[in-house]
C-alpha cells in the first residue's frame, strides 16, 4: 500500500473548487512528486503548488482532464490522463482530454517538458490527483448516507454500498464533494489492481489528426496578424552587414524589412544560437515573403573560421589521438592489463553532424503590445522563452505569457528558444502581431545540430578469452560522447573512460537521446566484434558481464541495474528465437540503457538485389509500468525507424562554413520503402514506476543494424552514415 501526502508544511498540492456549470474541479500540478514524503529533505519547488492541470467531474458524470502538457508526438495527451482515470476509477469512455485552452489563466504556468521525462515526472502527481478525487467523492457519498467510506466501493464512476442497494454516480455527488476536506494522506492503488493502466488505448486526438483539424504552431492565426520570415548568414562564422532594404520594402505585399538582434547579456541555457543578427522581412502572405527572400542581395562579413567536413574530421581525429583527454573513470590498472592481454582489439567510430528536421519547421507567434507580450507556438521550454524574452526586451516577466501549441515533432529541437525570441524581436519592431515562419531551408541550415563525434574503443582479452580490460575515449563538438559509469563499467576489472570537447562555431544541441544514440551504436557493435574475437555468442558475452556487475561489481558505482539489463536481453533472445538457423537472414543484437529505461533489440536483415533491407526488428523494453501499450509501442517503433534511418542515411555536411544540404532533395531521411517491414515490441512486466519511452528505443537500433550489416556483407561499419561507400569508410577511419 502506498500512502502519499497531499500537502507539505500545510500547503496543499491540490485545490478543490466548484466547477462552472456544476460538478467538482480538482486543480493540481503535473510535476509534483510525492513518492517519498517522509524523507523529504530537498526543498520543494514553489511551482509544485501552482495549479497547471485540472480534473473536472461534471454533474453529467463526464470527466474532463485538462492537460497543460505540450504534445510533441509522444502521446502524453492520452497516457497521462489514463493515470488520472485509473486512480479516479472512472470509465475511460467517459473521459475527455483537452489541451489547456490557450487563453485561460490556469495554463499560464506551463513548465519544462523535456522528452522522455514527462511520464516520470507526472506519475505521482497524476495518481495523487485522481486518488484524492475518488476519496472525496466517496466521503461525500458516505456522509450523505450516514455510512463509512469502508462500506462503499466504486466501479466505473459509480459508488455503491458493499452490503446494500444504494448507489450514486460521480456526477450526482460531485457538487457535494467540493465541500469535503482534502484528506491529508491518500492511498494509491496497488499496481496489480490497475484496470486501465497497461491496456491498449488509442490516441485521444487521433480523430482530429486524421481530418486535418489539429492546430500546430504553423497553423495558429490571429486577427490582424502579419507574417514574417528571416534570412540568416549563409555560413557559420559569418555576420550580416547590410542588404537591399529599400528594394525589398518596395516589393508586393511586403510591409517592412530590417535587421533584428536577439542577443542580450547573460544568455540562458536554451538560448543556443549562432546568429543573433538576422534580416527580417514582414509581409502579408507566405508566398510574397518567399519571393522577397529570393530577391535579397545581402553583404556578409566573415568574423570567425569557416569550418568544413574536412576541418571537422581533422580536428576530431587530432583531439582524439593527441589531445589531452579528461579522465572520467578508472578501475584497476588498465595500462598493464592491456599490455599483458592475449588479444587487444581497438576500433574507432564516428558520426556526422545531423539536423533535427522536425517535419513542422520552426515558427512562433508574437505580439508585443507596449509592455505586454503574448507568445504562442511550438516550444518545449516555455518558461525559458519567457525569461529570455523578458531580458531581451526589458519587459517584466509577469507581463509575458507563453502558450504552447501542438508540435510537429520535437526530438530536442524545440528546447531552444531562439525562434521564439526572433518572433518577439520582430513583433516589437513592428508593434504588431506577427507569426514568424522558417522555410525548410532556414530550418535545416540554422539548426541546433547533433554534433559530430569520434570515439575509440579498446578491449583486452586474456588467454581464456575473458574480457579483462576495456577503455573508451570520446571527442565531439559540444560534448564528449562518453558515459563513464554506464555499462560496461562495473563489469570489467580494468577500465577507463576519457573524453574531450572539440571547439566549433556551429550551433549544437540535444538531439533525441543525446550522445546515447552514438555511444550505443559504437559500443554495441564493438562488443559484437569482441564477442567474435573471443569466440562467444554476443548475447552470452553480455550476460556474463551483467552477471559480473551484479555479483561482484568493479569500482564504487555504476549507473544501471544489471538484472534489468540482462532481463531485456533474455526476453528478446527468447522471443526472436536467437540461435535459430534462418537462411538468408542476417541478425544483429544490441541492448542499451538510457533515460532510465532498458531496451534490447534483435534486427533481422535480408539482402534484396544487393541492397540490405530490414525485415524485422524485435524489441524488448523495460520501462517499468507501461501506461498505454498502444502509444508505447508506437513510440518505440518510431525510435527504431529513427535510429536505423539516421545511422544509415543522414548527414549534414559543411563546406566553407555552410551546410551543403538545405532541403530533403539532398538531405537523406529514411523513406517508406527503407523502413523495417515489421517491428514487434515486448514489454517486461513489473511494478516499477514508469520511465521514458521517447528516447530509449532509438540507440540500440544503431548497434543492432551495424552488426546485422556485418553478418550480411562481411564488412564492419564504423562510420555513420553506413551508406558511405566502402573506400570512404576507410578514409574516415584515417581521418
Amino acid at each position: 500500500m502506498t500512502l502519499v501526502k497531499t500537502s507539505h508544511k500545510r500547503r496543499s498540492f491540490l485545490k478543490i473548487s466548484a466547477a462552472t456549470g456544476g460538478g467538482m474541479l480538482i486543480g493540481f500540478n503535473w510535476m509534483t512528486s510525492c513518492s517519498s514524503p517522509e524523507e523529504e529533505t530537498i526543498a520543494i519547488p514553489n511551482e509544485w503548488f501552482e495549479m497547471n492541470g485540472y480534473i473536472k467531474i461534471g454533474d453529467t458524470g463526464l470527466v474532463t482532464i485538462y492537460s497543460p502538457n505540450p504534445e510533441i508526438g509522444q502521446n502524453v495527451m492520452t497516457s497521462m490522463p489514463m493515470i488520472v482515470a485509473e486512480e479516479l476509477d472512472v470509465n475511460w469512455e467517459h473521459v475527455v482530454v483537452e489541451q489547456g485552452m490557450l487563453d485561460e489563466d490556469v495554463f499560464h504556468n506551463p513548465q519544462f517538458a523535456g522528452g522522455s521525462l514527462s511520464i516520470m515526472l507526472g506519475w505521482d502527481a497524476l495518481r495523487m490527483a485522481g486518488a484524492t478525487g475518488r476519496r472525496m467523492l466517496l466521503e461525500a457519498a458516505a456522509g450523505e448516507w450516514g455510512v463509512q467510506v469502508s462500506d462503499l466501493q466504486v466501479r466505473d464512476g459509480i459508488i455503491s454500498e458493499v452490503n446494500g442497494d444504494r448507489s450514486i454516480s460521480y456526477g450526482d455527488i460531485a457538487s457535494r464533494a467540493v465541500d469535503m476536506e482534502v484528506p491529508e494522506e491518500i492511498e494509491l492503488k496497488d499496481p496489480k489492481d490497475f484496470k486501465l493502466i497497461g491496456t491498449y488505448q488509442k490516441n485521444v486526438v487521433g480523430p482530429q489528426l486524421v481530418t486535418g483539424k489539429s492546430v500546430f504552431g504553423l497553423d495558429f492565426k490571429r486577427e490582424g496578424m502579419l507574417l514574417a520570415m528571416i534570412q540568416h548568414p549563409p555560413a557559420f562564422g559569418m555576420k550580416v552587414k547590410d542588404f537591399n532594404q529599400q528594394e525589398i520594402k518596395g516589393m508586393d505585399g511586403i510591409r517592412d524589412a530590417f535587421i533584428i538582434d536577439t542577443g542580450y547579456e547573460d544568455e540562458g541555457r536554451f538560448d543556443v544560437n549562432a546568429f543573433n543578427q538576422l534580416i527580417a522581412i514582414v509581409g502579408d502572405s507566405t508566398w510574397q515573403l518567399i519571393n522577397a527572400k529570393k530577391a535579397l542581395k545581402s553583404n556578409w562579413e566573415t568574423e570567425s573560421t569557416l569550418e568544413s567536413n574536412q576541418s571537422h574530421a581533422e580536428s576530431l581525429a587530432r583531439d582524439l589521438d593527441n589531445g589531452t583527454l579528461q579522465e572520467e573513470r578508472r578501475d584497476g590498472d588498465p595500462d598493464s592489463a592491456f599490455a599483458g592481454a592475449a588479444k587487444v582489439i581497438e576500433r574507432t567510430y564516428s558520426a556526422p553532424i545531423i539536423a533535427h528536421n522536425t517535419l513542422e519547421p520552426m515558427n512562433f507567434f508574437a505580439h508585443v503590445n507596449g509592455d505586454k507580450v503574448e507568445l504562442v507556438g511550438p516550444t518545449q521550454t516555455p518558461n525559458n522563452l519567457k525569461e529570455s524574452t523578458s531580458k531581451m526586451l526589458g519587459i517584466p516577466l509577469e507581463n509575458i505569457t507563453v502558450a504552447m501549441t501542438r508540435m510537429g515533432g520535437g526530438f530536442g529541437r524545440r528546447l531552444y528558444t531562439h525562434y521564439g525570441l526572433e518572433a518577439a524581436a520582430i513583433s516589437s519592431k513592428m508593434s504588431a502581431p506577427i507569426k514568424l515562419i522558417y522555410s525548410r531551408e532556414d530550418d535545416m541550415t540554422q539548426g541546433t545540430y547533433r554534433p559530430a563525434y569520434r570515439s575509440t574503443y579498446k578491449a583486452g582479452l586474456d588467454e581464456n578469452n575473458n574480457l579483462i580490460a576495456f577503455s573508451v575515449k570520446g571527442v565531439g563538438f559540444r560534448e564528449g560522447p562518453v558515459f563513464p559509469n554506464r555499462f560496461p563499467a562495473g563489469a570489467i576489472d580494468h577500465y577507463y573512460a576519457v573524453k574531450r570537447v572539440s571547439p566549433s562555431n556551429i550551433s549544437y544541441g540535444a538531439w533525441r537521446a543525446p550522445r546515447s544514440h552514438f555511444t550505443a551504436g559504437a559500443e554495441q557493435s564493438f562488443l559484437d566484434e569482441v564477442a567474435e574475437a573471443a569466440g562467444k555468442d554476443p548475447i552470452e558475452l553480455r550476460l556474463e558481464l551483467f552477471d559480473r556487475a551484479k555479483t561482484n561489481p568493479v569500482g564504487e558505482e555504476y549507473e544501471y541495474d544489471a538484472e534489468r539489463y540482462a532481463g531485456v536481453l533474455k526476453l528478446v533472445r527468447e522471443k526472436a528465437n536467437w540461435g535459430e538457423d534462418m537462411p538468408g537472414v542476417y541478425r544483429g543484437v544490441a541492448a542499451y540503457f538510457c533515460h532510465n529505461s532498458y531496451v534490447a533489440q534483435i534486427l533481422d536483415l535480408v539482402m534484396h538485389n544487393g541492397q540490405p533491407k530490414v525485415k524485422k526488428v524485435w524489441c524488448a523494453v523495460d520501462c517499468g509500468i507501461v501506461i498505454n501499450r498502444e502509444g508505447a509501442k508506437n513510440i518505440i517503433e518510431g525510435g527504431v525507424v529513427d535510429g536505423i534511418g539516421h545511422a544509415m542515411y543522414s548527414e549534414l555536411q559543411f563546406e566553407d562554413g555552410a551546410p551543403v544540404q538545405e532541403n530533403f532533395n539532398s538531405y537523406r531521411l529514411i523513406r517508406h520503402g527503407e523502413a523495417p517491414e515489421e517491428i514487434e515490441v515486448f514489454f517486461v512486466e513489473n511494478d516499477i514506476s514508469p520511465t521514458g519511452l521517447g528516447e530509449p528505443g532509438l540507440p540500440p537500433a544503431v548497434g543492432a543494424l551495424a552488426s546485422a550489416l556485418y553478418r550480411a556483407t562481411g564488412q564492419r561499419y564504423y562510420h555513420q552514415p553506413f551508406t558511405t561507400k566502402e573506400q570512404d569508410q576507410e578514409s574516415r577511419l584515417l581521418g
Binding site: V210, G638, A675
Partner: protein, 151 residues
C-alpha cells in the same frame, strides 16, 4: 495579382493572388484550410499532398494558375465525417505520432487506393515514398493501407 475561381472540397472559392502562388499557400494563407501542411516546398516530403481530380499532387509545387476548372480536394474535404476508409484504418492502427505528416500520408494513400484498390508492398512503397514521416510511423501506415484496401 489575378482572380481565380477554384472548386475546393465541392465549393467554389475565389482568390486574388499572384498566378505563380502555389496552391499550398492559397489554401493555407488565403482560404484558411490549414490541414494541408508545409514541409519542404519542393515536392520532396509530401506533407502538402492534395487531390486534383482525384490524383495526388504536391500542392507546394502546383501554381494556382495551373488548377483551372479541375476539382481540388484537401484533407478537410476527403470525407464529411472523417470516415473515409483510409481515415478509419488510420484510427484503427493508431498511426499518428506528432501527426504533422499524416494529412499528406492519408491523401497519398487515398489516391493510391482509388487507382489501385489492392496494392502490393512494392506498389505501396512506390506510391508512398514521396511522403516523409519524421516520427517513423511507416510500418503502421503500411498496415493501415492494407486494412483500408481489404476493408
Amino acid at each position: 495579382m489575378a482572380i481565380f475561381d477554384i472548386e475546393i472540397n465541392g465549393k467554389k472559392q475565389q482568390v486574388d493572388v499572384d498566378p505563380a502562388t502555389p496552391m499550398l499557400w492559397v489554401l493555407r494563407d488565403h482560404l484558411d484550410l490549414v490541414g494541408t501542411k508545409y514541409g519542404c516546398g519542393i515536392a520532396q516530403c509530401g506533407a502538402c499532398t492534395i487531390h486534383i481530380d482525384g490524383t495526388a499532387v504536391r500542392s507546394c509545387s502546383m501554381p494556382v494558375s495551373a488548377v483551372g476548372n479541375k476539382s481540388v480536394t484537401t484533407i478537410e474535404g476527403l470525407s464529411e465525417k472523417g470516415d473515409h476508409p483510409v481515415q478509419k484504418a488510420w484510427l484503427e492502427h493508431d498511426v499518428p505520432q506528432c501527426g504533422y505528416c499524416q494529412a499528406g500520408q492519408i491523401m497519398s494513400a487515398a489516391a493510391l487506393l482509388d487507382s489501385n484498390p489492392t496494392p502490393g508492398d512494392a506498389e505501396i512503397d512506390a506510391a508512398m515514398n514521396g511522403n516523409l514521416c519524421r516520427c517513423g510511423t511507416y510500418t503502421r501506415i503500411k498496415a493501415a493501407i492494407k486494412t483500408a484496401a481489404t476493408g
